[in-house]
Amino acid sequence: MSDPVTALDGQSITGQITIADAGPTGMVTLRANFASATVMTGLVDVGLVVPDANQIASGDGTTTLWMSPDEVMILCDYDDAEAQAQSLGDALASAHALAINVSDARCVFRLTGQGGAIRDVLAKLSPADLRPSALPVGMVRRTRLAQVPVAFWFSSDTDATLICFRSVGGYVFDLLSKVSEPGSAVGYFG
């Protein structure tokens, strides 16, 4: 089979921060009623921890993002996503649930930068409250970046991940590159 090619195709650029294609990433959307005992029992069987609202849960090689009260997204290796979706579907076969591989539907960006530079850059495009107290490490924020929907989260003060739909990957890359240009530092978040 051909190698998977993301919309960003490995691009990266460094300005105030470094904006880089995180490469093919496994993504599985799971929709279910997480208050249901049947659902939760099934999820325990496959070892999936459902994060609290707006939070991220990490498991064995996977990261689970809270997306809405009845939706989470599981990040995993690109090659494992189909099997992940399948095993979740099997585990929840007796419940009402939808597990589907959406690895190709989105672009994943890795953002790295010192001090508060990542927050400064994101704040130019997103109305989200980016204060570390409001968006600490371990929380995911669904919001918009200029004119398109995105989600982002910090894995450390200097490292963040951003996802957007594949078709606007180029737009998001250009946006972030533009507002991260040298000379445009805000210095608000330190």
């Binding site: 089979m1 051909s2 998977p4 090619v5 993301t6 919309a7 093919p24 959307t29 929709r31 279910a32 009845d70 189909e82 009402h96 649930a97 939808l98 589907i100 591989n101 959406v102 690895s103 190709d104 539907a105 989105r106 704040a123 130019k124 495009l125 997103s126 109305p127 989200a128 409250d129 980016l130 204060r131 409001a134 200029a146 004119q147 398109v148 739909f165 594949r166 078709s167 606007v168 990957g169 180029g170 737009y171 250009d174 946006l175 533009k178 507002v179 240009e181 040298p182 000379g183 445009s184 530092a185 805000v186 608000y188």
Partner: protein, 1003 residues
Amino acid sequence: MSHRLSSGGRLINRANPVSFAFNGRTMRGFEGDTLASALLGEDQMLMGRSFKYHRPRGVVASGAEEPNALVGLGRDHSYEPNARATTTELFEGLEAETQNHWPSLEFDIGAINARLSRFLPAGFYYKMFLWPRSFWKHVYEPFIRESAGLGKPPKRRDKDHYEHFNVTTDVLVVGGGIAGLTAAMAAGEAGSQVLLVEQTAHWGGRAPVDGPQIDDMAPNAWVTQVVSALQAMPNVEMRNRCMGAGVYDHGYALLSERISDHAPDKAGPRQRLWKVRAAQIITATGAIERPLSFAGNDLPGVMLASAVRDYIVNFGVAPGKRTVVVTNNDDAYRTALTLKAAGLEVPAILDAREDATGALDEDARAAGIRVITGRGIASVIGKGRVEVVHVCAQDSDGADYEAIEADCVAMSGGWSPVVHLWSHAGGKLTWDEADAHFRPDPDRAPKGASGEVFVRTAGTASGALTTEDALVDANRTGQAAAMALGHKARGPAPRAEPESRQVTAPIWLMPENAPYEKRAKSWLDFQNDVKVSDVELAAQEGYESVEHTKRYTTLGMATDQGKLSNINGLAVLAKSLGVAIPDVGTTTFRPPYTPVPLGAISGEAQGALFQPIRKTPIHDWHEANGAHFEPVGQWRRPYAFPKSGESVEDAVAREVTTTRQSVGLLDASTLGKLIVKGPDAGRFLDMLYTNMMSTLKVGKCRYGLMCSENGFLIDDGVVARIDEHTWLCHTTSGGADSIHGAMEEWLQTEWWDWKVYVANVTEQFAQIGVVGPKAREVLDAVSASFDLSKDGLPFMGWVEGSLGGIPARVFRISFSGELSYEIAVPANHGRAFWDMMLEAGNPHGITPYGTEALHIMRAEKGFIMIGDETDGTVIPQDLGLNWAISKKKDDYLGKRAQMRSHMTDPLRWKLVGLETLDGSVLPDGAYAVDEGDTVNGQRNTQGRVTSSYHSPTLGRGIAMGLVERGPDRMGEVVNFPALDGSPQEARIVSPVFYDPDGEKQNV
């Protein structure tokens, strides 16, 4: 003469001279100057011409309120009109040109308007433009339009870029004077997160000029100390050159930060628009001094008293050598003292009050300045600038008392708090009799969703006019804001000495009984040439509302929005109407406080980032292969792929012909793809589609229609049953997001208890159409894990597996009438699959085709297109799609609406094919005329063209259209006149022009 003093100027650096160009003439100032101070330093008092009469105008103010000194800055790709010289920081190479004159600033033909001022009274535009009609075109538009107006819009694209910045914080403090600093300190010390902004480049506001001792320190020293203390606080962020532009509901505020206006060679954005969400907003915006209304008060050299001392103290520039001070309050005495201290002459202070007993008044007398009370200015005379001041008794009709030679008049009509930001979000004002101004009424503050106060004022902006009061007020406000956020706040305000102050006299006209000819020369609004007599005329003509008067007279319009004229104007209106000032009220204060460039508002959204362009996984191939694109939703889809030297029309014809005869390739990735799953999914889809989807068998596809609750067709597409509980719904390219949204809405509101989940997987897949009689041969050339034969994968079936080693779902569906496969592969493999198909199809001359070929082929088959055959008023029955409407179902969205009498009217326009008699192509959208006229005298119509193409397959024009009783009128000829009225006759035929029996797709 205005001139640079030999010493002084706390903001300038005399060691660093700066040269700049003013109307092409090279001039010099110093680092730290504003354009206005540098011009005054060069004795350039004349800085512009007024809007209507083209009167010569000099600078009046020293800050954001300036009405006169408006210039065009820069040139070509960095030109900005209507920039205030008073807020423009000087830099080496600055180019400024004055506005609103021809041929030159000094000699302006338009000044003839001033001679005609009698004929240009209040409401001139409304009175004049009514008649005669022909004058509109030949007189008003070319001449009056040309002579009115300020700056010209830039002609070139702005070379700069801009950005936004979003901030959420506890407390936003607007204004970095001593009140803003105090409020920020109070809130910050209590533990609140604070953002403090100041519109100028300097902290401290007026205090360093006016000189009060604070905490036993000189104001400069105090400001420096507090600024460093604030800068050291981790919870306080400070920005200067950052103006509070607007305050809106929910604690939302816009700030406009000038980053490189003063340093144009700096990299990065020129300006940054801050979008702040603050729990509490404190406006410490200070106050603006009011002019006095006397005859000749618009002569260059007549300035606000505060501005006169600003230029001396801040920039070492004296607006004149001999300055007459005229006032109704104590504050202007500071100007006299400042002038005296700078060694300049002050022949007199004219105080309109009957006596002058304040501390400052005493100081002035002690300094040897002649103070004349009960006096005002009868008129100021001079040719282009102040020469003689005629003094009169304030309570007179202007009879001369004495004439004083002077080259500058420093006027003060009292101070008005800057209430703009307070008022933007609904804060109300109260009239303060003692200080004769409107000030914020803290009992009627802007409030949030839960009734909490979210805007507070601090210092002079509250109406606290002495330093002591302002600091106490600011400290209290800062603490109140912090306490509203649950912080504990305590601590005393900075200390200042109490001031003994005499009340301000409400003087709205000088002298009190000035006759008409004086009132007609007493300017209220310098920028828009509105005089006392104009407002009086408006009142006389029945204008009672201040809002109406504003629009009738243009008082308070244009770039300064009446920062100087507002209160004086409404006081004159109140007097004319015989009512109290608070009963007249103010006009509405609207954002922005001062103009914000459109570029800053659009932020990063310019050039390539103006709008997101969605790209399919194959987009790069399209670009590299010369695709002619068209927008579809936010996608760019190839319209056609013209080869080198080939016209777009020829390319379209070639694409259609090759596809019909051999095989074509289509990037259909933009099609919406929604997964609908759950025990109630079938029932749900039966409600959404007009036909039955619950009965669809696994492995099969069915075409379906979706209507709105009102019955109108909104979307269509092929639905595939994936498994017992799962359906895949294809939507139109533009409809994917809205249909997904509609599904969620129904599931979350009306049918919340139905067990259905929807996922939008539009972008998960690249979808590629392999279309044409050779399509199967192309697919057979790559290895497939499934049977693609006629019986193995029959028409309207789908299979899943791998194709050429790539996971694929193959749908045997056709929008062209040909043998056709649509193959969905993971988007990250889409380009590889496309390349594979090109290679496999090479022996057959496979041809990528665009949306126009797609449209032509579907029209040849009589297939409808959402957005062409539908426009939001068309129901499926209009389109002959009754076969796709289930009769068995109790309900579906739109069913009841489609039973309304109008929807079942036999006279509805219905879909037919149209064939021109001469084979030509009908214009898209053309109407078919009918006999007679409508009540409006327009021709009756009986139909319209919805799609029209040249069919390369049939070698003639084909069209689809909606025609009254169309299907009953087969063979009739109707007339679709061209735009020039010439007849174009077309015969009503079946909309299926090609392969009516569907044999081609079923092979």
